[in-house]
Amino acid sequence: MSTVRRRLVPYFLMGPGLVWLILFFVVPLYFMGRLALESGTLATGFEFTWEFANFTDSFDRFDEQFVRSFVYAGVATVIALLIAYPLAYAIAFRGGRWKNALLLAVVAPFFTTYLIRTIAWTTILSDDSVIVDVLKAVGLLGDEGRLLATPTAVIAGLVYNFLPFMVLPIYSSLERIDVRLIEAAKDLYASARVAFWKVTLPLSMPGVVAGTLLTFIPAAGDYVNAFFLGSINQSMIGNRIQSLYLMELDYPTAAALSFILMAAILAVVVVYIRFAGAEALMGDEGEQRA
């Protein structure tokens, strides 16, 4: 192979991905950026006027939904992690020949579409449901209490819907751990607990970081759960973008709000990765390059 060709090969390999990224990310991003700086109404037509006020106005108007989105997404991510880690651990180390069946069980509900699953929860949690009756009977819910149209329902929906995105990365990084390392720790008189904290957990961090990102990012922008399981007092930023775009037909504000959401998520992710360490996300390779 000639050197020229050798040099070109990586670009050819990147080609399909780059084309995809440009067509479906860069180009739409450009349009959205342009739209976010337009002013006017549907009736009079929109005009490009460098309307930066769209950004400041929309943030002032919707700060409550922003805060709520990030709180809900954060709480949902933590709960999902607390559920997913032991689950992934059990499957990876204790699953034995049932491993594949257990993984399938984690993924199986997701053969049904997202929307149908969320709507199903409205029936399960409805005011006259068995769950609500039981919670009332044991005193966890007051007589007038309900589950549907509360923050609990919305966060539970987020946890449920994004759980596999947490379980699978954690599982795959736990699965890759060489058990001889844990045995070595024990040979060196580490208790099971110390071995877990010093060996297993650090080695599974790439999975944890990937899992939390894959849960947090879509959860922060989600509007389906808040729409079906919440009321207006639980509306998230995604609900606002949706209604601005489809109901009010205020495209510039909707675009500006989407940009602010992207920037906010990016900021959270950058801080988080700094804190967690890039090597945690990329594993050994990240460490070597750093």
Binding site: Y30, G45, F46, Q65, D127, E144, N233, S235
Partner: protein, 390 residues
């Protein structure tokens, strides 16, 4: 390819490649931007959708779901030889406008010959220059059968560009077993029903009704009346009195028992009743709002001739009876009641399909907030803030 390539050449190439890609992206973007989102009305004459010769070919109709029985379309096809492409793509007026607006702006209808939209949206589309007037001669048979109550709405007094598909009433839909004493819109604000009442997210359905309950007639309402009513609804929503703002999905909440009394549509109540006899449409003490979903012909409609054939067909009472018997909305076609009686259908006896003048005496036709597009936009924004909790 295990070892990494090093040296300045690589960095330069990478840069070159990046720049090339960026330029390509901008070129693509610039070419595309001509078709960007722009509104604005064309001044001048409204075009007339002329009928030419014998109707033939295909007619494409965009309607709301659950609005037609299964037999009407195939029977029309057999009788006229026109092929029908019947698409249930309208779920919400604003949503639908957002979807078709880029095409209509270019003077294309996306192949649609007839679209069905609510009164105020028909008005707005006309103002945006997206609709054609009817060919009076071609549509005369249908218009002759239009019931007088619907013949001259404020937005189109001569029915020049809109013809009702079905009409309906917005009022109370109540589970009589759980909320037997709800008869007025004001009862929805009763703390007894806290968290178990719902209202429609269509502003023009909900706000006028609440306004009427406060003694303001929507016909005389000022911008301030609209704003005050919206504020009242906001307080009720934030306190948790109103559980949700819904579209058609209130039917699920009523059936589940999550809601006991809602603002809803007459036709839905009948369909819900089939499953649960306790659920009924209640004419509010203050009256109801009346509306129509109208057939309109968009600019660029490829086959208006066939569109008129369809309109005339569904305005024949014999054919209309079949549709009315299915959807139980207020039928706009004269003589339908007689046909339904002959068929022995219960629809003939329903006050919802054939409301008497006394039954609808206090009802008002749906209207926009007064004061032109700027005010409408302001009021609409305030409303959206309420129903999405901003």
């Amino acid at each position: 390819m295990t070892e990494r390539e090093a040296g300045p050449m690589k960095g330069f190439k990478k840069l070159l490649f990046g720049v090339a890609m960026l330029i390509a992206a901008l070129v693509v973007a610039a070419c595309g931007s001509e078709g960007g989102i722009e509104g604005g009305k064309d001044e001048g004459e409204v075009p007339v959708a002329k009928a030419e010769g014998e109707p033939s070919g295909t007619v494409k109709i965009a309607n709301w779901p659950f609005y037609i029985d299964r037999k009407t379309v195939p029977e029309f096809e057999r009788e006229t030889g026109i092929k029908v492409q019947y698409v249930e793509e309208v779920n919400d007026n604003n949503d639908f406008l957002a979807k078709v607006q880029p095409q209509l702006q270019r003077g294309e209808s996306g192949g649609r010959d007839i679209m069905i939209v609510t009164d105020w949206m028909a008005n707005r589309m006309r103002e945006l220059g997206y609709l054609q007037d009817f060919d009076e001669e071609a549509i005369a048979p249908a218009k002759a059968n239009l019931v007088p109550q619907l013949a001259s709405p404020a937005f189109d007094p001569e029915r020049k560009f809109s013809l009702p598909w079905q009409s309906g009433m917005t009022g109370l839909v109540v589970n009589k077993a759980k909320a037997p004493d709800v008869t007025s819109i004001n009862d929805l604000f009763d703390p007894k029903y806290k968290g178990r009442v719902e209202m429609l997210n269509e502003m023009r359905d909900t706000v006028p009704l609440v306004m009427m309950a406060d003694g303001v007639r929507p016909e005389d309402a000022t911008e301030e009346d609209w704003m005050n009513t919206i504020e009242k609804i906001r307080e009720a929503a934030e306190s948790g009195q109103i559980r949700k703002f819904t579209g058609n999905d209130y039917t699920r909440d009523l059936a589940n028992g999550d809601a006991v009394a809602v603002i809803g549509w007459s036709g839905d109540a009948v369909q819900l009743q089939a499953d649960n006899p306790d659920i009924q449409f209640v004419m509010p003490d203050e009256g109801c709002t009346l509306w129509s979903d109208n057939m309109v012909i968009p600019v660029g409609a490829p086959n208006p001739t066939a569109a008129y054939a369809w309109m005339n067909y569904v305005y024949d009472p014999e054919n209309q009876a079949q549709i009315a018997d299915y959807n139980y909305y207020f039928t706009p076609v004269k003589g339908t009641k007689e046909v339904l009686e002959r068929m022995g259908s219960d629809a003939a006896k329903s006050e919802l399909v054939f409301p008497t003048e006394e039954y609808t005496a206090n009802c008002s036709t749906q209207d926009e907030p007064p004061g032109g597009p700027e005010v409408v936009r302001k009021v609409e924004q305030a409303w959206q803030d309420v129903i999405t909790g901003a």
